[in-house]
């Protein structure tokens, strides 16, 4: 899909952000995964142990 849309040639700048967003909304398979949304308003892509550890740290139960 990314190839079909020619995304490799899309600029990665603020002006093009709506175009990327619309493409992801139309084709959710384009979205990097897994994305974790945290209650503190942050979000991260948890593909590495480091990112996961950070997610756990932010969400850890306070009695852990």
């Amino acid at each position: 899909m990314a190839v079909a849309l020619g995304m490799a040639d899309w600029p990665r700048d603020d002006a093009t952000e709506p175009r990327w967003v619309e493409a992801m909304a139309a084709h959710p398979a384009l979205i990097q995964r897994p994305i974790l949304l945290l209650d503190d308003g942050s979000a991260l892509v948890a593909r590495t142990p480091e990112a996961l550890a950070e997610a756990v740290r932010r969400a850890a139960p306070d009695d852990a």
Binding site: P18, A29, L52, A55, A59
Partner: protein, 160 residues
């Protein structure tokens, strides 16, 4: 004070489908997972929460019944899961829709997603699994993820 029920039990066939979750909760087709890696679903009568509504953590309070569901009114969702899950042999009774501390945009075919869930289950972090391939995020949601300052807290999000 909590009895550890052991490692998460997630039989592949035991997961409620998004449709089942929707039927149980009257809410959108997303998975609920408590701090034990169990699917969460509405409580049965024998799984009534204990404690009052003092909000004190760790004693089961802060759990309230609402419309046949049990939900946690505080940030102690994971504690609540621990408190109640030992009363239920299979299912957790904690309804975490109203206080979600984490949402995963989840692709069941993605090994990285499975790895993330395993880590969170091990850390006893409750979360909501969102099958984003079945219900694509809106442009507004995506923008919110890209620019977190624009995104409301999870608990404030309207249920789709």
């Amino acid at each position: 004070m909590f009895n550890d029920p052991g490692p998460p039990r997630i039989p592949p066939s035991g997961w409620p489908s998004p449709r089942d979750a929707e039927a149980h909760t009257g809410r959108p087709a997303e998975y609920l997972v408590d701090g034990w890696g169990h699917p969460a679903r509405p409580t049965a009568a024998r799984c009534s929460p204990r404690g009052g509504d003092s909000g004190r953590p760790g004693d089961g309070s802060g759990l309230q019944r609402a419309g046949g569901l049990v939900w946690s009114s505080s940030t102690t969702a994971s504690r609540a899961a621990r408190t109640t899950s030992r009363d239920c042999s299979v299912w957790s009774v904690v309804e975490i829709w109203d206080h979600v501390i984490m949402e995963i945009w989840h692709n069941p075919a993605c090994s990285k997603c499975a790895g993330a869930r395993a880590t969170l289950d091990e850390a006893r972090v409750p979360y909501r699994l969102r099958a984003y391939l079945d219900g694509a995020p809106s442009a507004t949601e995506l923008t919110g993820v890209l620019r977190p300052a624009r995104r409301p807290r999870l608990g404030d999000l309207p249920h789709r």
